[in-house]
C-alpha cells in the first residue's frame, strides 16, 4: 500500500461493550487530513505480534472536518489481531500508520430518496452520509438492526434518533417487503451489514422489480494483501520473499530486478512476465480468460501466487 501517513490517537471512547470509538489526528501538529467523501474508509496499520495488521474502517466523522477522523471498531470474536489490539492495547497518544481515505460506497446523489439499512457495526459508513445528506437537503431514512448497539451512543447519530430519522430494531427484523414497497420511485437503497442481510435486501428488491442499479452494498477494498510467497527471477538468479502487504512488482524492484511497468494497477499490460513455474492468483484486468487459465504469464503489479513460489522469466 502506498500513500501512508501517520495518525495519532487523540481520544478513545466506548460506544458499547464491544464497540470502541477512536479519534485520530495528524501525528504532527499543524497538519491536517484531507477532507473526504461520505462512505470513505481508511486502512489502519495496527502493530501486532511479529506483523502489522491492516484493517479497513469507515470514517464516521463529518466529511468536511479535516482536523480529525473518527472510526468505530467492533471487537471481533475471531480477531486476526487488529480489533483485539484496538480494544486491549491501543491507547491515547499512540501513533499508527494510516492510508488516505478511499471510497467504494458513495451515495448516489441523483436519488430522490436515500434508504439506508444497517446491521450492527454496519452503521458506520452511514454516519458520514448523514451530515452531507442534511447539508444537501436530501430526503433519507436509516434503519439499524442490532442487538447490542444503540445509535444514540454515537454523537454523530444521536440527534437523528431523537428526530425519528433513524429507526432501530432489536430482536425483530425490519419487514423488507413492506419497507421497500412504500418507497417513492427513484429511491436508492444502501446496505451495510452481514451477508445474509445484503442478500435478503437484494432479493426483496428484485421481487418488487427494482432495478439492481438502485441497490448498493458496501464492499470493503480487500486492502491488496495476500499470502506471502517467494518469487524467483530465474535469469537474474534472484530469489525474493514477497511480503503480505507488498506487490510482487514492488518486491522485484526492491531486490533490484529490472522490470517495466506503467499503470501499476493491472490495466496497461506493460509489466507482463512469463511464468515458468508456480500458480498465479490473477488480479489484473489485462489478461484474457485464456491467458489466465494457461498460467504462462502474470501481471506482477497486482497479481500474486496461489503456490508457495513463482518462477519468473526475468
Amino acid at each position: 500500500m502506498s500513500r501512508f501517513m501517520k495518525a495519532r490517537i487523540a481520544a478513545v471512547g466506548q460506544i458499547s461493550t464491544t464497540v470502541r470509538r477512536l479519534t485520530l489526528v495528524p501525528a504532527e501538529s499543524g497538519q491536517s487530513f484531507t477532507p473526504f467523501s461520505p462512505g470513505s474508509h481508511i486502512v489502519l496499520g495496527i502493530p501486532g505480534e511479529g506483523r502489522t495488521c491492516r484493517n479497513a474502517y469507515s470514517l464516521i466523522s463529518a466529511p468536511d472536518d479535516s482536523s480529525q477522523y473518527c472510526i468505530a471498531v467492533r471487537r471481533q470474536p475471531l480477531s486476526r489481531g487488529g480489533s483485539e489490539a484496538i480494544h486491549s492495547r491501543i491507547k491515547v497518544g499512540d501513533v499508527l500508520e494510516m492510508s488516505a481515505p478511499a471510497n467504494l460506497f458513495l451515495p448516489q446523489w441523483q436519488a430522490r430518496h436515500h434508504l439506508m439499512l444497517a446491521g450492527g457495526i454496519g452503521i458506520t459508513p452511514f454516519l458520514s452520509y448523514l451530515p452531507e445528506l442534511e447539508r444537501r437537503g436530501a430526503s433519507w431514512e436509516l434503519h439499524l438492526r442490532s442487538q447490542d448497539l444503540d445509535a444514540v451512543r454515537f454523537p454523530e447519530a444521536a440527534a437523528h434518533v431523537a428526530s425519528g430519522g433513524i429507526t432501530q430494531y432489536r430482536l425483530e427484523r425490519p419487514n423488507l417487503a413492506a419497507l421497500l414497497s412504500r418507497q417513492p420511485a427513484g429511491t436508492h437503497v444502501y446496505i451495510c451489514g452481514p451477508q445474509g442481510m445484503i442478500d435478503a435486501v437484494h432479493a426483496a428488491a428484485a421481487a418488487l422489480h427494482w432495478s439492481s442499479a438502485r441497490v448498493h452494498h458496501e464492499v470493503f477494498a480487500a486492502p491488496a494483501p495476500g499470502m506471502p510467497f517467494t518469487a524467483v527471477a530465474r535469469n537474474s538468479g534472484v530469489e525474493v520473499a514477497v511480503e503480505a502487504d507488498e506487490s510482487l512488482l514492488e518486491a522485484l524492484e526492491r531486490s533490484g530486478v529490472e522490470t517495466t511497468s506503467l499503470c501499476r494497477g493491472g490495466v496497461c499490460g506493460q509489466c507482463r512476465v512469463e511464468l515458468l513455474d508456480g500458480e498465479a492468483e490473477h488480479r489484473d484486468a489485462f489478461l484474457n480468460d485464456q491467458e489466465r487459465a494457461s498460467q504462462r504469464c502474470i501481471m506482477p503489479c497486482v497479481s500474486r501466487a496461489r503456490s508457495a513460489s513463482l518462477v519468473l522469466d526475468l
Binding site: 502506498s2 467523501s37 488516505a100 481515505p101 446523489w109
Partner: protein, 349 residues
C-alpha cells in the same frame, strides 16, 4: 519563474501563436517507439515529476497561460454553453475550485496566492490581475458560478466526471479547446458512450479495462496519459460547433506549407479524484507545435515519419488525417532526405 507568459498570441485569425525554444524543448513528444501501437498508456502522476517537465506539478502552466485564458474567454463569450454543471455536480465544482487554488498557489507562488481561515478565503491571481475574497461553498460570494470562475483561470480543458454504477458520466465541465468533440453533445454520457466512435479500442477491450482502473482511482493517487492528434494552424478550439470555420483548412495542406501549418497536438490528460465529492477531474492540457519547430529535433523528426507510416487506416480516418497525411509524409520525407544528405556531406568533408 520557469515561464514568461505572453499575451500577444492568437489562436485564430492571423494565428500569431509561437513556441519559444524553451517550450519546444519541453514539448511532450508522445511516441515512445517507432511503431504506433494502441495501448492503455496510463501511469501514476507521481509528484513532483521531473523538474521543468510538463508533469513536474499537479497542474502545468507555461508561457501560453495568458494567451490561452484569453482565448478561453473569447470562446465562452461567443458560446456560454461551453461551461456546464448539472445540479448534482455543484459540490464537485467547489471541490475543483479548491483543488486548483491550492495547487496553483503551492506550485507557482510568484503568480498565485490562496489564504484560508476556515471557509473564509482570499485568492489572488497575479497573472490575470484578479483578487477575490469569498466563502468556500457559498455561490453568492463569487462573481459567477464556481466552475465558471475558476475555469477561466485554468490553462487546459476541464471535465468533471460523476461516478455511479461502476461507470463515469460527463456531467460538468468547461471545454473550450477540444479536438473535435463537444461538451454539449457528450454531457450526461457514460464513459463507453462518449468513447463510442474510437475504432479498434472496443474490440481490444481497452475501455472496459481502463474504466475499471479509472473508477478505482482514489484520493492522492492521480494518473496521467498522453493523447495526440494533428490540427491545421495553431487552433485551440476545433470543436464540432465551429467546424465550418476550420473543416476546410484540411484541404489547404501541401508538401510546401505542411511544416508551417500542420501542428502536432498533444494532450496531457490527468485524472484526479476530488476529495469531498468523489468526482473524477479529467484535465486536458493541450500542447501545440508546428512541424517546423518539432523537426528541429532530428530524433522526433524521423520517429514521427516512421510512426505515421505505420498508422492503421482506421486511425488515420478517426483522427481526421486522411486528406493531408500524404502531404505531411512527403514534407517529412523531403526533410529526412535533406538532413541525411547534409550529414553525408559532413561525413565526406
Amino acid at each position: 519563474m520557469q515561464f514568461a507568459p505572453r499575451d500577444d498570441q492568437a489562436f485564430h485569425g492571423q494565428f500569431t501563436f509561437k513556441n519559444s525554444a524553451h517550450a519546444i524543448k519541453r514539448f511532450p513528444f508522445p511516441f515512445p517507439e517507432d511503431e504506433y501501437r494502441y495501448s492503455v498508456n496510463i501511469e501514476p502522476h507521481a509528484l513532483p515529476g521531473k523538474s521543468g517537465s510538463i508533469t513536474e506539478h499537479m497542474l502545468d502552466i507555461d508561457e501560453h497561460y495568458l494567451s490561452e485564458t484569453a482565448e478561453r474567454a473569447r470562446v465562452l463569450d461567443s458560446d456560454p454553453k461551453r461551461c456546464l454543471v448539472m445540479p448534482h455536480m455543484q459540490p464537485a465544482a467547489w471541490d475543483f475550485l479548491e483543488f486548483v487554488m491550492t495547487y496553483y498557489a503551492r506550485d507557482y507562488p510568484e503568480s498565485f496566492s490562496f489564504e484560508r481561515q476556515g471557509d473564509d478565503c482570499h485568492w489572488r491571481n497575479h497573472l490575470l490581475g484578479l483578487e477575490q475574497s469569498f466563502r468556500m461553498g457559498d455561490d453568492t460570494t463569487l462573481p459567477m458560478a464556481p466552475l465558471d470562475y475558476i475555469g477561466r483561470q485554468v490553462q487546459g480543458d476541464i471535465a468533471l466526471l460523476d461516478q455511479r454504477d461502476g461507470d463515469l458520466f460527463m456531467d460538468a465541465g468547461m471545454i473550450t479547446c477540444p479536438a473535435d468533440w463537444s461538451l454539449a453533445f457528450d454531457a450526461g454520457m457514460s464513459f463507453s458512450q462518449w468513447h463510442g466512435p474510437v475504432p479498434l479500442a472496443h474490440e481490444m477491450g481497452i475501455f472496459e479495462r481502463a474504466l475499471k482502473y479509472l473508477c478505482a482511482i482514489q484520493v492522492g493517487g492521480p494518473v496521467h496519459r498522453l493523447n495526440w492528434t494533428m490540427t491545421i494552424h495553431p487552433r485551440m478550439d476545433s470543436s464540432p460547433e465551429t467546424f465550418s470555420e476550420w473543416g476546410s483548412d484540411r484541404a489547404t495542406i501541401t508538401p510546401d506549407n505542411a511544416g508551417r501549418d500542420v501542428h502536432l497536438r498533444v494532450e496531457l490528460q490527468t485524472l484526479v479524484r476530488m476529495p469531498r465529492s468523489h468526482a473524477l477531474f479529467f484535465g486536458i492540457r493541450t500542447y501545440l507545435i508546428n512541424l517546423d519547430d518539432l523537426c528541429t529535433n532530428p530524433v522526433w523528426q524521423s520517429r514521427l515519419l516512421k510512426v505515421l507510416h505505420t498508422l492503421p487506416p482506421e486511425l488515420i480516418e478517426y483522427k481526421g488525417l486522411t486528406r493531408y497525411l500524404p502531404s505531411v509524409l512527403e514534407w517529412l520525407e523531403r526533410r529526412e532526405a535533406g538532413v541525411g544528405a547534409s550529414q553525408a556531406e559532413k561525413q565526406s568533408a
